[in-house]
């Protein structure tokens, strides 16, 4: 197990380094950020001075090593647009994204799992068919379009909810969150529903598949023969048995929810990390792009690593094979 762990860790580090080079070179190729930053009327002197200040006159490999050295010291550079350290910038935006993701994941679970259970329990009923049709919609219709429809319906036509922004931020136990105020909730609910739909579709399908399979197993037949009420069979026996794959997939999907937040945050003008990366791409804010991308790579490599290690722990074949 230890040998496997060391090998996998080395691989993960290698992947992060390889990706950091790719990201750095890729972002470098996008264009000269100086052209975007200063107004075209600025003199050559100001231009040259700025280029020197940001170290853009040095060869690429040198810039990369300067970047690596800075990262080692916890310095991811300074945003060229906001003029504050990228670390501070990302961490100031992170709470908004985390809160959005948490609310949407909760909605997906609270609605998706019971809906999936029902659809698997009575697969031929009209209700089950409607639920499955909705899950196909949640899966296939682009997120941004549903978000726009929500805004049109609930913000523009009905005027019930605000169309964007984060709203008032309150303080609970030292954490600043918009979930502490009623105004904050009115702002978070629509984007959270929007973000939850894809996950909800996935959950419904997973739960339904597990339920259908479980219904034909021997333990359910025996429980029935014992005369247990269906409610007890479903919630006490089946749910417990099918919850492991659901939780696994759901945990894996948490990472991709962060990615989808990019779209939802743009539609609802939600001041999170996703909005930040879109803005930085549009404004050629290189340090923010590079740092965000490398953070995402690290996040996904970590998720992968954790999953592999758990599997290796559970299944000896994986670790004996070497998993190279």
């Amino acid at each position: 197990m230890l040998g496997y762990l060391v090998r996998r860790l080395a691989q993960a580090v290698a992947v992060v380094f390889a990706m950091s080079v790719i990201v750095f070179v890729g972002v470098y190729a996008i264009g000269n950020p100086i052209d975007v930053m200063i107004d075209p009327g600025a003199t050559q002197e100001i231009r040259a001075k700025l280029i020197e200040q940001y170290g853009l006159d040095q060869p690429l490999w040198q810039q990369y090593f300067v970047f690596l050295a800075n990262v080692a010291e916890g310095d991811l550079g300074t945003s060229m647009v906001y003029n504050i350290p990228v670390v501070d910038l990302v961490f100031s935006r992170l709470p908004a994204t985390v809160e959005l993701v948490l609310v949407s994941v909760t909605i997906a679970g609270v609605v998706g799992i019971p809906a999936g259970l029902y659809a698997g329990y009575r697969p031929d009923s009209i209700g089950a068919k409607a639920i499955m049709a909705l899950s196909v919609l949640g899966f296939s219709v682009p997120t941004f379009w549903i978000g726009m429809l929500l805004i049109m319906a609930f913000a523009v036509n009905l005027g019930w909810l605000p169309s964007g922004g984060r709203g008032d931020v309150g303080e609970v136990l030292g954490l600043h969150t918009s979930l502490a105020t009623a105004d904050g909730w009115s702002h978070v609910i629509m984007p959270a529903i929007n973000l939850s739909l894809f996950k909800m579709g996935l959950l419904i399908r997973l739960t339904r598949a597990g339920m259908v399979e479980a219904m034909s197993t021997d333990y359910v037949k025996f429980a029935r023969a014992q005369g247990l009420p269906d409610r007890q069979i479903v919630f006490r026996h089946i749910l417990r048995n099918i919850s492991i794959p659901i939780v696994t997939v759901f945990g894996l999907e948490l990472g991709s929810t962060l990615a989808f937040a990019v779209v939802t945050e743009s539609v609802f003008n939600w001041p999170g990390v996703g909005k930040l990366i879109i803005d930085s791409i549009l404004q050629l804010d290189r340090p923010v792009m590079v740092s965000y991308l490398i953070m995402v790579v690290i996040l996904f490599v970590l998720i992968n690593l954790t999953v592999d290690l758990i599997y290796a722990r559970l299944d000896p074949r994986v670790r004996l094979k070497g998993g190279a």
């Binding site: 890729g26 972002v27 682009p142 379009w145 049109m152 990615a259 989808f260 779209v263 743009s266």
Partner: protein, 312 residues
């Protein structure tokens, strides 16, 4: 009686005639299974109609939305059903530049289809090559290729495409390239999975023992037998390529406004969301939704029909 014997067992006697006949029969069987779902048949019909109006856009649309000379700013923001200066009814209204929405949607749909289909075809080709190579050769090549594929699969396609488009710049070619890089991994994984199962079977072993070149064994013997799951993945991936392109264009990193796609039209209409000019964003969105959902429903039915576990 003797007729059936030649088609099933007589392949040795007439090797060239038998495959063609079974292929036609297989297609007929497929169709008779497929049409059992009315929803899937309707979806297929919808796709055919959409393909026709999009690729026939110059013929069926009332106006050429790219022709700046034909546009009149006096026609801007006409509501659905209004008669414009051109003397015909703008069924779905006009946009801020006085463009007929219906025509723009047909042309935009064409862009979406071109991008979705070419990205899907390229990703399929590359994915097959990667997957077959990995499954056939095994060992270190397999480990390396599949590790890259798995790593890519763990990253959401939208994020990968977003980064690539940011790096590559705007334009149809760039978008297709970004989508191919983001999507080939799905095909590679599916091919590899199916091919690993097939590899162990006797007919591949037999083919390998002959002096046939590796390429021929791979593409003529192995590939046809791993095709069914790939067809399903391909349908789903075309739909998701179209949706991804629309999303990227909506976020402002996809196609420039000079090459209108459904995504950039919706993005344009989004600016007017707080006015009562709903038609600028609603109609292109409805066409996008219908396209994507129809392709997915067809894919669902194809999956059901091709599922080997399904009892006949």
């Amino acid at each position: 009686m003797s007729d059936t014997a030649t088609t099933t067992g007589g392949t040795l006697a007439v090797p060239s005639a038998a495959p063609a006949e079974t292929r036609a029969t297989r297609l007929r069987n497929f169709w008779s299974d497929y049409r059992r779902s009315p929803v899937a048949v309707v979806s297929l019909a919808v796709i055919v109609v959409l393909l026709f109006v999009s690729f026939g856009a110059p013929l069926v649309s009332p106006q050429d939305p790219y022709d700046m000379a034909a546009l009149d700013w006096m026609d801007a923001f006409l509501g659905p059903g209004t008669v414009g200066s051109g003397g015909y009814v703008h069924v779905l209204g006009t946009d801020n530049a006085g463009r007929d929405m219906l025509s723009a949607i047909f042309y935009g749909l064409r862009t979406s289809f071109v991008i979705g289909l070419s990205a899907g075809a390229l990703a399929l080709t590359i994915g097959i090559c990667v997957g077959l190579t990995a499954a056939y050769f095994g060992g270190r090549i397999e480990a390396l290729l599949m590790r890259i594929v798995d790593l890519q699969l763990s990253m959401p396609a939208i994020l990968l495409a977003l980064v690539l488009v940011a790096v590559l710049g705007q334009g149809i070619g760039q978008i297709v390239l970004a989508l191919v890089v983001a999507q080939y991994a799905y095909f590679a994984r599916t091919t590899h999975g199916a091919a690993t199962v097939e590899r162990g079977k006797d007919y591949i072993e037999a083919a390998r023992s002959t002096p046939l070149p590796t390429r021929r064994v791979l593409f003529r013997h192995l590939l046809p037998n791993v095709m069914p799951p790939l067809i399903v993945v391909a349908t789903v991936q075309v739909a998701s390529a179209i949706a991804l392109e629309a999303t990227l264009s909506f976020l402002g990193v996809g196609l420039p406004l000079t090459e209108p796609s459904l995504g950039s039209m919706i993005s344009n209409g989004f600016k007017y969301i707080h006015t009562d000019r709903y038609w600028l964003s609603i109609y292109p969105g409805i066409f996008l939704m219908i396209t994507v959902v129809a392709i997915n429903l067809v894919g669902d039915q194809v999956r059901t029909v091709l599922d080997p576990r399904r009892s006949r």
